[in-house]
Amino acid sequence: MSPRAPIRVKTLTIDGREVGAREDQTILEVARENNIFIPTLCNLAGLSNAGACRLCIVEVKGVNKLLPACVTRVAEGMEVTVNSERLAKFRRGILELVFAERNHVCSVCVTNGHCDLQSMALRLGMTHVHFPYQYPRMPVDASHERFVMDHNRCILCARCVRVCDEIEGAHTWDIMSRGVDCRVITDLAQPWGKSESCTGCGKCVQVCPTGALSEKGKSVAEMSKRRQFLPYLTLMREGRR
């Protein structure tokens, strides 16, 4: 058995602050260790990173495009900016696009007051949506006995896809089509209630950041999500391997 290669330590700056990091860490992880806030929606502790929402974009000196902090590894001497006027504007723009793309009607939503998207919009100071709303006609899949999927509220973060695949091991969820036609599906785009792979564990519902996935029968503003289980579950499953 060969000894493991030693993990190297890199030093970089985030918003001018010098920080140290392991070479296998992402900018987001290092920022969080140092209590530097980078907004995210698709990221969730205990799941792999997907780089889906792009809210965590940062500026790296010498790179002329913006990089998603959740999937960008640190490098020696990196100079990262996570807070700037430009980034704040882009992040608000990303959120506005999310709101414009589907029908996010907070006032009658089951997760009103407990929604990651809603609180992020508040936190980032989004006051208006400057893009024309698309008002797509989106179906609601209420065929499952205990859960409901409302595509109107989905932001395509793919948390459900990842938790089902990585933690539950069922891989019931997936994403089909491209661009604005993208949609999360169960099995091969079967009604959720017909899915043979779904175990009905409900993890997807708990990790969903919005009211897209909810427990049936919860009324408006009643659906708050419980996610504490996730890091422990990950830890226990890794420990058994």
Binding site: S107, V108, P139, D141, G217, S219, V220
Partner: protein, 474 residues
């Protein structure tokens, strides 16, 4: 003289957007009158495909004045879809909420919208004939109105978390029980509110003499009356049977509220977005009926609270059969305010008012549900159909103002015939035409599930359609 049309557009100091047109014959007499509701919203259509449990909150958005009424009728329709009997205390708390809604809405209708006419006079300067004019002429009365409405809204907030569009009423009951602290706050406010209600009632009874002509001509004609009554025939706003009463004061029939399609039908007219409903056995237009405070006090056999009961007995002395003049809607509203306050106190003094069992849980057991309750303006009906998964496939709402539509039209005609003559319009004439609408306290946003404000404009047209005179109300 040519035939003419007078159009009042927009009608003011009512909730919603409408206009009135009056057609004059060659002699300048009013021949026909129409009350046009000019707004449309389409709630019944866009709720299709949504889960049933979203309906109370979705439907509450129809109106910012009576969201609670829609919450209650909608939640009752959803209870029927779940096929559950909701816990006793959930019924009690919903009743308190509904009465608080009636209290605040009646206070708004009377003090803010109608007192300007009653206190300052139908012919007074329209620029001052509003709630601000009332504040100047009789500050104590204006304060009473504001205070009473505030108390009603406050009760709603203490029960349901917020005043407008609370999400507290849910299919199966309510989402949280009442706390002892909030119960005591409500009870502490009752005496002051009762004093205000008594003052207003005494004032109105004194003033009635001055309005003899209005009483005689404000939609004063025989119609049927409809509303919920309790199982004992008493005044009831939450649940019971639907009673029809004829103008002579005889009960025509008592029906189960959930079978309304058997005895009620709606027709649409090309000149208004507001559908007109009628009593099927008599057909249209003979099956015209009225709902709301006047109807409720006409159809019942008694009132279960002491002071309102006395006032009701006095009210019923006004006519030998049913009380027919719509001017008395105001009177009935004040008696209902008194009743609401007394009843809220009764309900909250019940030892089980703080019981934490306030919600029944179930999933879709029926594919159709009907919820009926009494809103401030009259009987409110929500009717939904869902698919196997609980998604709405069809919805129909009949709102108080729709029930009253035919009577309002006839009322406009009556008052116009009485007050409008010749081809010159006076502001006082117009105001009386509007005031008859105001007695019904219509909510057009609710009844067309539509958006808008209500103000009135009158046009005078020749029989060839030529515009002779226009008059805007302010």
């Amino acid at each position: 003289m040519p035939r003419q049309t007078i159009v009042i557009d927009p009608v003011t100091r009512i909730e919603g957007h409408s206009k009135i047109s009056l057609h004059l014959d060659e002699e300048g007499h009013v021949e026909e009158a129409y009350f046009h509701v000019t707004q449309f919203r389409g709630f019944e259509k866009f709720c299709e495909g949504r889960p049933y449990y979203e309906m109370p909150s979705l439907m509450a958005r129809i109106c910012g004045i009576c969201p609670v009424s829609h919450l209650i009728a909608s939640a009752k329709a959803c209870d029927a879809i779940l096929a559950v009997r909701i816990p006793e205390n959930a019924v009690r708390l919903r009743k308190v909420l509904n009465l608080a809604q009636i209290l605040q809405s009646h206070a708004l209708s009377f003090f803010y919208l109608s007192v300007p006419d009653l206190l300052l006079g139908m012919d007074s300067d329209p620029a001052a004939r509003n709630v601000f004019g009332v504040m100047q002429a009789n500050p104590a009365m204006a304060r009473d109105g504001v205070r009473l409405r505030q108390f009603g809204q406050q009760i709603i907030e203490w029960l349901a978390g917020k005043r407008i569009h609370p999400a507290w009423v849910v299919p199966g009951g309510v989402s949280s029980p009442l706390t002892a602290e909030n119960r005591d706050r409500i009870l502490a406010g009752i005496p002051e509110a009762l004093a205000i209600a008594t003052r207003a009632l005494d004032w109105f009874k004194n003033e009635m003499e001055r309005f003899r002509e209005e009483i005689r001509s404000f939609a004063n004609f025989p119609t049927l009356f409809m509303g919920l009554v309790g199982d004992d025939g008493g005044l009831e706003h939450y649940s019971g049977k639907l009673r029809f009463l004829d103008a002579g004061g005889h009960v025509v029939a008592d029906y189960a509220d959930t079978t309304y399609p058997d005895y009620l039908a709606e027709i649409a007219h090309p000149w208004t977005y507001l559908k007109t409903s009628f009593y099927k056995p008599l057909g249209y237009p003979d099956g015209v009926y009225r709902v709301g405070p006047l109807a409720r006090l006409n159809i019942i056999d008694g009132v279960s609270t002491p002071r309102a009961s006395q006032e009701w007995a006095e009210f019923r002395e006004l006519d030998r059969g049913a009380v027919l003049s719509s001017f008395y809607y105001h009177y009935a509203r004040l008696i209902e305010i008194l009743y609401a306050l007394e009843k809220i106190e009764q309900l909250l003094r019940d030892p089980d008012a703080l019981d934490a069992n306030v919600r029944a849980h179930a999933s879709v057991n029926n594919f159709e549900g009907i919820g009926v309750s009494e809103a401030p303006r009259g009987t409110l009906m929500h009717h939904y159909k869902v698919d196997r998964d609980g998604l709405i496939t069809w919805a129909n709402l009949i709102i108080a103002t729709g029930h009253n539509n035919a009577a309002m039209n006839r009322g406009v005609l009556q008052v116009a015939r009485h007050f409008v003559h010749g081809n010159k319009l006076s502001e006082g004439m117009l105001n009386r035409v509007e005031a008859v609408i105001r007695t019904f306290d219509p909510c057009l946003s609710c009844s067309t599930h539509a958006d808008g404000r209500l103000a009135l404009e009158m046009e005078l047209r020749s029989h060839e359609g030529e515009l002779l005179d226009v008059c805007h109300t302010r």
